[in-house]
């Protein structure tokens, strides 16, 4: 029996001469089924055997890399990508991308966001998005409100939220909240309020513009217009379920968002993000990560072909907003006809008018410092949401947080695994950053 098990465990290793490309995809079951259909097309066209590995999770990826079983193509966010690049674990894609017409098809900001600290290109963004305010039309009608204007302001947005909040039987627990803004979208509000945070900031900064946004955000919770973030997190409901079930009337979420579009059966629309006073809006478009190729791949050319196919051709991911030569709004409306008349096209086009936007979405810190910053900031945010800390206390804690971040980064700069170019780049960045 034991021997038998060994036999079973031992088989399934690819032979040396096959053309299997393993793709680690963080995909839903439906996407996987669809990708498997696409993969047959890829095989017919190129002879490449695509093997889908639907495990996600960075710890898993690292363990696979350490064990010498890295998938050929995998998703990375900025922080993981740069860490892997610094240790020489992902391929510099420049030689592959240089002469490939595919690379020219990418939106300019996707191409300019691609190079890392040492100038190498270690990933290609596979998706990009902006965000908007999804709203329940019936709730607006019931409150006697006209649909939001595209150039509405934060004050109008808050006033609408107030009108949309329906008191419940118990005091302090509305039956319908006016709005819900997931915490990670606060960064978008900071940008709309022109918070002057440089793109490659290594350290945490909370300038007055950011503090204003945080105060406004907390105000929504405090006034009972928005549910307590912790309660929403504990509820085990996705944001779309909140809007669908009528618990909130407005929801800030990503545009495009397939999961949301597929689940909402209410009559909904989507409006641009509100602007702050008379400040010029900064609609953005951003990619939070991309596809990388393992440095250990035995077939870089096949891996690159698979990568370009995934981004530019696989039906599952088309139309793809990273491609400049596609009318994304039109193609997406053709894919999801119910989007017509929702305001989706207008929101998307606004993001296109503001060329490039800011790719820091979700990652306002340089990739080097995201983990050190977030691991220190998150407990403070937890306390802020719980009312156990004031905004002033969080602002006062910034130097302490940054001192810890600096320690972590200096330790990283000393560690043995980094390639010299990366080590030098990190040391330069550290030296340039203001001392606490």
């Amino acid at each position: 029996m034991i021997l038998l098990t060994f036999l079973i465990a031992g088989c399934g290793r690819p032979a040396a001469d096959d053309r299997t490309i393993v793709y680690n995809c963080a995909a839903s079951t439906a996407d996987i089924a669809s990708l498997q259909r696409d993969a047959r097309e890829l095989k017919a066209r190129t002879g490449i055997d695509l093997k889908l590995n639907p495990f996600s999770g960075e710890e898993k990826l690292y363990a696979m890399i350490a064990a010498g079983q890295a998938p050929d193509v995998f998703y990375t966010n900025g922080a993981v990508r740069d860490r892997l690049a610094a240790e020489g674990r992902v391929l510099d894609l420049r030689p592959l991308a240089e002469h490939d017409p595919f690379f020219a098809r990418l939106r300019p900001e996707v191409r300019t966001a691609a190079p890392s600290l040492d100038g190498g290109i270690y990933s290609v963004s596979n998706w990009t998005l902006t965000c908007g305010v999804y709203y329940n039309r019936a709730a607006f009608a019931a409150a006697g409100l006209p649909p939001p204007r595209p150039d509405w302001t934060w004050d109008e947005f808050v006033a609408a939220a107030r009108r949309l909040t329906v008191p419940g039987r118990e005091a302090g627990r509305p039956q319908q909240y006016g709005v819900f803004i997931p915490a990670h979208f606060v960064e978008v509000l900071e940008q709309m309020n022109h918070a002057p945070i440089p793109r490659d900031a290594l350290f945490l900064q909370l300038p007055p513009e950011s503090q204003e946004v945080y105060a406004a955000y907390l105000g929504l919770i405090h006034d009972g217009l928005m549910p307590d973030i912790r309660r929403v997190q504990a509820m085990g409901m996705q944001a779309s379920q909140m809007l669908q079930s009528g618990r909130v009337a407005m929801l800030v979420e990503a545009v495009p968002h397939a999961g949301l579009i597929e689940t909402l059966t209410i009559d909904w629309g989507v409006a641009p993000m509100p602007r702050f006073g008379t400040k010029e809006p900064r609609y953005f478009r951003s990619a939070s990560g991309g596809l990388s190729i393992s440095a250990a791949t035995r077939r870089p050319a096949d891996a690159w072909r698979t990568l370009t196919w995934l981004v530019g051709e696989a039906a599952t991911y088309q139309p793809n907003p990273v491609l400049a030569d596609v009318d994304f709004a039109g193609a997406w409306e053709a894919k999801y006809p119910r989007l017509r008349g929702t305001g989706f096209r207008e929101v998307w086009n606004l993001s296109e008018q503001h060329a490039g936007g800011d790719p820091r979405f979700f990652v306002r810190f340089a990739s080097w410092s995201m983990a050190p910053v977030m691991s220190r900031l998150q407990p403070w945010l937890d306390r802020l949401w719980a009312g156990d800390a004031t905004l002033d206390q969080v602002v006062a804690a910034v130097p302490e947080i940054n001192a810890g971040v600096r320690q972590d980064l200096e330790r990283l700069a000393k560690s043995s695994g980094l390639k010299p170019a990366w080590k030098a780049a990190l040391e330069r960045a550290l030296a340039a950053a203001p001392k606490p």
Partner: protein, 285 residues
């Protein structure tokens, strides 16, 4: 609670009180499972409904269908069995051999060795986790079942302890007789001692089954390919899939969880008596 009844009225009162406590506590303990069952048969909206309706109507059996079709559950089941059966066999044989050695032989260093063996029970797996991972990675065993099975060939301290305690309670007469008849020690262990240790053997098998069937961390660490995943890993995968797809289908998650629990429940009801007897030999002494 071994008090002779003083009067029949007192006995009736005592028994009623015992039942009352048993039923009340029993209800409290079974509510979570009942709820799991109930919500696994609801449609999603009813799961979030307030007040909650305990009896779903109609019964949404399709949640179970979805639970087993969302991911290749059949494959996961086979994988789990392929790991569990060898682990059970290997753990039993190796632990029983070692336990017999500790129970029946006198040799220098035996007691110190046994104490060391007991001490390793307290070792947190995390101390050896990283080096073991590197070891197995170097051997090329990652993403195979070997890291999950091979360690069971070397016995497990808890079962060694349990079996040794049991062996000590078996009188040595029949072994002496067999020895005089010229049987080897190994043969005696197999055909004389083990048959007499049936309750302890059953306990070890059941414990190993539960431990391996439910193991989360080992498969999480060592298995990469989804087609090699175990049921527990699949359940965790399903959690992330269901959570990631825009809607949290709690009814389907509950259905899947119940399916994973089922073998344990059946096994326990079948083997309950052996189980408690086996434990009483080791832990209490």
């Amino acid at each position: 609670m071994s008090v002779p009844p003083r009067s029949s009225a007192g006995a009736v009162a005592r028994i009623s009180l015992t039942y009352l406590a048993l039923v009340a506590l029993g209800a409290l303990f079974s509510v979570p499972v009942a709820w799991m069952l109930s919500s696994s048969l609801h449609e999603l909206a009813a799961v979030f409904a307030q007040p909650y309706r305990w009896l779903p109507s109609p019964l949404h059996w399709e949640n179970y269908v979805r639970a087993v079709t969302l991911l290749p559950v059949g494959r996961f089941l086979v994988n789990t069995i392929v790991i569990t059966v060898p682990v059970m066999a290997a753990t039993l044989v190796s632990s029983a051999l070692v336990a017999y050695g500790f129970a029946r032989f006198r040799f220098p260093g035996r007691d110190a060795l046994f104490a060391l063996c007991l001490a390793t029970m307290m070792l947190p797996g995390q101390v050896t986790m990283i080096p073991l991972y590197l070891l197995f990675a170097r051997l090329g065993w990652v993403d195979t079942y070997l890291p999950l099975i091979v360690p069971s060939l070397f016995g497990s301290p808890f079962y060694i302890f349990l079996l040794r305690q049991f062996f000590l309670t078996i009188p040595g007469d029949s072994e002496e007789a067999a020895l005089i008849d010229g049987a080897s020690r190994l043969r005696i262990w197999w055909s004389v001692v083990l048959p007499q240790a049936r309750p302890a053997v059953a306990t070890v098998l059941i414990f190993t089954f539960i431990g391996t069937w439910n193991d989360f961390f080992g498969p999480l660490l060592y298995l990469n390919s989804p087609e090699k995943a175990t049921l527990t890993l699949g359940l965790n995968l399903m959690k992330t899939q269901v959570l990631g797809s825009g809607v949290v289908e709690w009814n389907v998650l509950m259905a899947a969880s119940l399916l994973v629990l089922l073998p344990n429940v059946v096994l326990f009801f079948v083997a309950q008596r052996q189980f408690i007897r086996g434990i009483s030999m080791g832990a209490g002494k």
